[in-house]
Amino acid sequence: MDHDRLMKDLREICRAPEPERKEIFFQGLAERGVTSGRPTSISHGEFILRQFLYIGKWVWLSSAVLLLFITWICYGNNGNYPFALTPLLAAGILVETERSFRWKMAELEYTARFSLRSVMLARMFLVGAVETAGLLVVIWAVQPRFSYSFGRVFLYMMVPYLSASLFGSVYERKHRTDNGWGSIVICLLSSAFFAAAPYCMSSLYEEQFAVVWLAVFVLLIISLGSSVRRWFLEMEEPAWSL
C-alpha cells in the first residue's frame, strides 16, 4: 500500500463526526447565555437531594445489611457485643468521601458552582443522616431486649459509631488515600476496641457511667464537627496530587 493511500485510509478511519446543530447551539448561547441573565439555578437544598442519586449503591446496601445484622445479633441475647458493631457503619461514609479522588472527578468538582467541598459534605450528610435514622429504628426495635433505657442504648450505639467517624475523618485528613482502606481498618479497630472494652472495665455499661457516656457523646459531636471543618479548610493540599 503506498503512502498516500495509507494516509487517505487513516484519515477515513479517524474521521470525527461533524458537529450537529452548531449554529443553533451558538444562537442558544447568545439568547440564554449568562449575559442575558441565567434563567435556572438550583438551590442548595435541591443540590443536596440530587446527590442521593450519585452515592454508591454499595454504601446503601452494606449499611442496610449491617443494620439488619445488628438487629439480629441484638435479638440473639449477645450481651453488649452488638454495640461494638456500629463503628463498621462509619466505613460507608468515610470511603464515600474518597470517591471523587478515586475516580479522578475531584478537579472537575472543585471548579463547579457547588464545588468539591459541597459534594463531599452533601454525601457525608446524606449517608450520616440515613445511617443515624436507621440506627434509631434499630434502637427502637431492640431496646426491649436490653435492661437499659432507650437513652442509654442510644448512647451505647452512637458513641462507637461517632468514635470511628471521628478517627476516620482525622486519618483521611492527614493521610488521604484513594481506596479508603485506612478508614476501613480504623473502623475495624474501633469495633474491636468496643468489643474488648467490657473485659478491661466490667462496669462500663453500668448506670453510674451513663453520664460519662453522655459527656463522651457530646465531646465526639463537637470534635467531629471541628475535624470535618479542618478537613475542608485544608482541602487545597490534595489538589497538588490530583
Binding site: 479517524c14 446543530r21 442558544g28 440564554r32 449575559t35 435556572t40 470517591r99 478537579e107 458552582r113
Partner: protein
C-alpha cells in the same frame, strides 16, 4: 469582563511553580505556551480557584476566584479527568450539570445540545469507559460548556484528539472566543496559530512573554523557541 492576576506566586515546598505573574485576560482566545513543568497547570488551577496563591490576587469584575459566583461563570477542562464507573456519556453531563447547579429541565436540554455539538450523539448512552481517548476529551469539552461559561479555561484540550478533531476543536474555540474569555494551554504551537488572539509564554514558573498573536510573526514555532531560549 476582565480576569486580572496581580503578582501571583505559588510555591510548593522548595519549588516555585508560579513566580510573580501579572496579566489581564479579556474577551478572546489567549494561548498559554510552555514546556512540560513550566507551571501552566498550576497557573490554571490558581485561575480556577483549586489552588490559592501564596501572594497576589486574582479577580474577575470584583469577584474573587474562590467564590460560588465566580465558579458559576467558569468552565474548566483539566488535563486529566475521570468519571464514575457507572456513568454513560449522558449521565456524566447530567451529573456535572447537577454539580454546576443547573435545573433538571435545562440540564437535559444542554446535555442534548452539547452531545450533538461534540459529535457523541450516537454513543451518548454507552458507558464512558468504552469511549476512545478522543471521545473522552470531547466529552470533557462538552462538560466545560454546560453552564454557558463566560470564562473558559482548558488545560491541554487537544491532547488525545486526532488531526481532524483538532481542526474542529479549533473552529469551536474560535467561535466561543468571540464572546468569552478563553485561556488554553498547550505545548503544541500549531494548536494556537490560527485561533489565539493573545499569547503568554511561561518558563520555569515565570511569564517570560505576553502580547498579541500577530507580534509572534508568521512562524510562531520559531518565535516560541526563540523566546524559550532567551536568557532572562
Amino acid at each position: 469582563m476582565e480576569l486580572i492576576a496581580d503578582r501571583i506566586t505559588k510555591q510548593y515546598k522548595n519549588k516555585i511553580a508560579v513566580d510573580r505573574m501579572s496579566f489581564t485576560l479579556a474577551k478572546g482566545v489567549t494561548g498559554l505556551l510552555g514546556a512540560n513543568g513550566a507551571g501552566k497547570t498550576t497557573l490554571m488551577r490558581l485561575l480556577c480557584g483549586i489552588l490559592v496563591p501564596d501572594s497576589g490576587t486574582i479577580s474577575c469584575d470584583g469577584m474573587s476566584v474562590g467564590t460560588e459566583e465566580y465558579r458559576d461563570i467558569l468552565g474548566y477542562l483539566p488535563q486529566n479527568f475521570g468519571y464514575y464507573p457507572e456513568f454513560s456519556g449522558k449521565d456524566f453531563l447530567l451529573y456535572m450539570s447537577a454539580v454546576k447547579g443547573i435545573t433538571g429541565k435545562d440540564a437535559a436540554r444542554k446535555t442534548k445540545e452539547l452531545i450533538e455539538l461534540v459529535g457523541l450523539a450516537e454513543v451518548a448512552g454507552k458507558k464512558v469507559r468504552t469511549y476512545s481517548g478522543g471521545m473522552r476529551q470531547r466529552l470533557g469539552i462538552a462538560q466545560a460548556l454546560l453552564n454557558d461559561p463566560q470564562i473558559l479555561i482548558m488545560d491541554e484540550p487537544t491532547a488525545g484528539l486526532d488531526p481532524q478533531e483538532r481542526i474542529r476543536f479549533r473552529e469551536l474555540i474560535a467561535d466561543i472566543g468571540e464572546k468569552k474569555i478563553v485561556l488554553l494551554s498547550t505545548h503544541i504551537v500549531s494548536d494556537l496559530e490560527h485561533i489565539a488572539d493573545r499569547l503568554m509564554i511561561m518558563k520555569d514558573g515565570q511569564l517570560i512573554w505576553q502580547g498579541s498573536r500577530s507580534a509572534g510573526g508568521e512562524d510562531l514555532e520559531a518565535f516560541y523557541i526563540s523566546k524559550i531560549g532567551e536568557k532572562r
